[in-house]
């Protein structure tokens, strides 16, 4: 069991989850729940891959992936915000829509070799003994983008004025509205941004981290895990990041776990029964349910940060009676 390899795998794979999760955090903090992440990620992956192939430029592919995700999410936004339809159903249909679009427009892309984003070392930091090798060398550039995005998004949400307005809109839109904040506009903006980040996540799969296009197996459920991650992380980017890297490590870990006969002196159950790893795969989903259960106490809810107005369309109250 190579701890270093596990950590590195976690950082790589986790980055994908984290992009999607942070995007969803932003959207949900404004009150809009986007269950269609899986579809949006797939569209982003396809758009990035195809554009990279057509233009032979991975960076253009990246931009295409991001924009595709954002635009697709705007459809969900329109339906949820202005048309005030049920956000769950809209999100689910977005999954189908996104998957369908990606498969149809991505026809014929499987197996192609396209330009991908490069792996790099971070100049000074990679020379630090130990840590440098694990965290800062030979990672895809998007992984480092992830490193920066995490504290940046946290700071944005909790320490800046627009972030404060974001939280107000998702928490109590009537109060925000009464103070002149544009509730609809805010929700559209963050739905778009969330979609862009989901597109980025998709692009990081197809043209960066696990590069390639494998039709609908490309995202293989990571969109759903990202949704679970958002809840589990209580709509806060820092725990989301930790959870994302953890879930990433879990995937790699489950492979490695089957190797040794004993771990730390104890009989390794996974060696004797490889299939126990399926229980490990259940972990992210079970953890989310437990987190929800724990958070359901009304008093707890205040501390746990589920935006109170999440999923509830905002209708300006009648003035008068």
């Amino acid at each position: 069991m190579n701890i270093e390899a596990i950590i590195r795998a976690g950082l790589s794979t986790g980055t994908i989850l984290i992009f999607a999760a942070i995007g969803e955090i932003l959207a949900e903090r404004s009150g809009v729940m986007n269950l269609g992440l899986e579809g949006v990620m797939l569209v982003g992956a396809m758009a990035a891959f195809k554009t990279s192939h057509v233009t032979q430029n991975a960076w253009l592919g990246l931009i295409a992936g991001i924009l595709a995700g954002g635009i697709l999410s705007l459809a969900h936004g329109l339906v949820s915000i202005h048309l005030q339809a049920d956000q769950t159903v809209s999100g689910l249909s977005l999954t189908f829509l996104g998957t369908g679009l990606a498969l149809v427009l991505g026809e014929g892309l499987t197996g192609l070799n396209v330009p991908t984003l490069p792996n790099v070392d971070i100049p000074l930091l990679s020379s630090i003994p130990g840590i440098g090798r694990i965290f800062f060398s030979d990672f895809n550039i998007l992984v480092y983008v992830g490193y920066i995005l995490i504290p940046l998004s946290w700071y944005f949400i909790f320490k800046t004025r627009p972030g404060m307005h974001l939280r107000a809109v998702g928490e109590k839109p009537s109060a925000a509205d009464s103070l002149g904040i544009n509730v609809y506009g805010t929700r559209y903006l963050y739905t778009f941004i969330g979609g862009c980040l989901a597109g980025l996540a998709g692009a990081s799969i197809s043209i960066a981290i696990s590069s390639g296009w494998y039709s609908n197996l490309t995202t293989s459920g990571q969109g759903w895990i990202a949704i679970a991650l958002v809840i589990f992380a209580r709509w806060n980017p820092i725990p989301a990041a930790m959870g994302g890297y953890l879930f990433g490590m879990l995937r790699r870990f489950t492979l490695d776990l089957q190797g040794p006969m004993s771990i730390l002196g104890f009989r390794n159950p996974f060696f004797y029964d490889h299939n126990l790893v399926f229980f490990l795969q259940m972990v992210p989903f079970l953890l989310t349910i437990i987190a929800l259960l724990w958070g359901s106490g009304a008093a707890r809810r205040k501390r746990l940060g589920a935006p109170t107005a999440l999923g509830v369309p905002y209708v300006r109250g009648e003035r008068g009676m």
Binding site: L78, T88, G100, I231, I289, S296
Partner: protein, 367 residues
């Protein structure tokens, strides 16, 4: 220069004509096809040729039609279960997981085995059906309890439990019950096969190769049963009342917690039965992929059917057609696309039921 007319959106005050919801659903399907056609054009394919191939693949022969009904069977059961839940405003999307659990529990009868394999067929199959119902029902009970007693959001819990169920299933089929290490169990003994029309081909050669199996009867019975319950039973009235205004239901003395549990268990049981029907009627074994997203398509079906189980039947057949045709044609994502577009358009157009668009001439200002 202002346009000579203006468009205003007003709330509808009168009753919606009865034909409107159905017309809107139908319209949405048509528009979905049109948009998909446009997208296909964009990729350089010929949409007309593809759609024609589509319909041929789906409706071209009796064999194909039978395949459609086979695919529609689980959709009918899962969709009906969703109708029940959604009517009470419980947004459960756990059909997929309940389906797998039902399949698993049913398979246990053969895998353990729970009864000797030389028992009469009707015993084995009845037991498997019962196990399927129990498996799905229990799996629906979990999020039901969480919602009724802890007010935990059922959307997320049912969604998460879907993936837990798939992994649970995988554990057993890769492991203890695996067929020589492949991700499936050995094929079930013939005693555990649901009868299909092809079985009668000795007497009726027309039926040779027709895969339609008894499960479709389960589905039809389930749909009619739930329809009757919702339309004319006391329980159906309670469900409708809770769905429309839970505070009024509480005020009227209805036991909301109990109803949440009942609805979750029964919709789960229906999905579980669908799972049993799929493993005994179609694949005849427990394997990794026994569902082509039935759990999610079921949501779309229920929504399109406007929560009416009788309407679920034809819509499931339509979607069955989409799935069957989707298997054959390129590009492979077309059926996903159409399904997603349809639902999207339907929920967008729902707004037309509440508001109407009026185009009026601008009045000249009197001088």
């Amino acid at each position: 220069m202002k346009a000579p007319f203006k468009i205003s959106v007003e709330k509808r005050m009168e009753e919606i004509p009865k034909w409107m919801p159905a017309a809107i659903s139908l319209g949405a399907v048509l528009v979905a096809f049109i948009i998909s056609g446009i997208i296909l054009l964009f990729t350089g394919s010929n949409p007309i040729r593809i759609f024609r191939f589509f319909f041929n693949a789906a409706f071209g022969s009796w064999g194909a039609f039978s395949d459609i009904l086979v695919k529609a069977t689980p959709l009918i059961m899962i969709g009906t279960g969703y109708c029940l839940a959604f009517k009470m405003n419980i947004i459960s999307i756990g059909g997929e997981g309940q389906f797998y659990m039902g399949a698993f529990f049913a398979s246990l009868v053969v895998l353990v085995p729970l009864v000797p394999l030389d028992s009469p067929k009707i015993l084995v199959l009845s037991l498997m059906a019962l196990m399927g119902i129990i498996g799905g029902g229990l799996y629906g009970l979990i999020p039901g309890v969480l919602k009724a007693y802890f007010n935990v959001n059922e959307i997320i819990t049912t969604l998460m439990l879907n993936y837990v169920a798939v992994n649970w299933n995988n554990y057993w089929i890769f492991g203890k019950y695996s067929d020589a290490g492949f991700q499936m169990t050995p094929t079930f003994d013939k005693v555990a096969w649901l009868p299909r029309l092809a079985d009668l081909s000795k007497n009726i050669p027309f039926f040779s190769g027709i895969t339609l199996h008894l499960g479709v009867v389960f589905g039809l019975i389930a749909a009619v049963l739930i329809w009757v319950i919702l339309k004319s039973s006391r329980w159906g009235y309670e469900i409708t009342l809770i769905g429309d205004n839970p505070r009024a239901a509480e005020y009227a003395g209805v036991n909301i917690k109990r109803n949440i549990l009942l609805v979750m268990v029964i919709s789960g049981a229906l999905a579980g039965l669908a799972g049993m029907s799929e493993v005994t009627g179609v694949v005849h074994r427990l394997q990794e992929r026994i569902s082509t997203n039935y759990g999610f398509s079921g949501v779309i079906v229920a929504w399109l059917a406007k929560l009416n189980p009788l309407a679920v039947i034809p819509i499931s057949i339509l979607f069955g057609g989409l799935i069957v045709a989707g298997r054959e044609i390129q590009p492979s994502g077309l059926s996903f696309l159409i399904q997603g577009l349809t639902l999207f358009l339907v929920i967008s157009s729902d707004i037309l039921l509440r508001y109407k668009i009026r185009i009026t001439r601008r009045q000249e200002k009197a001088l």
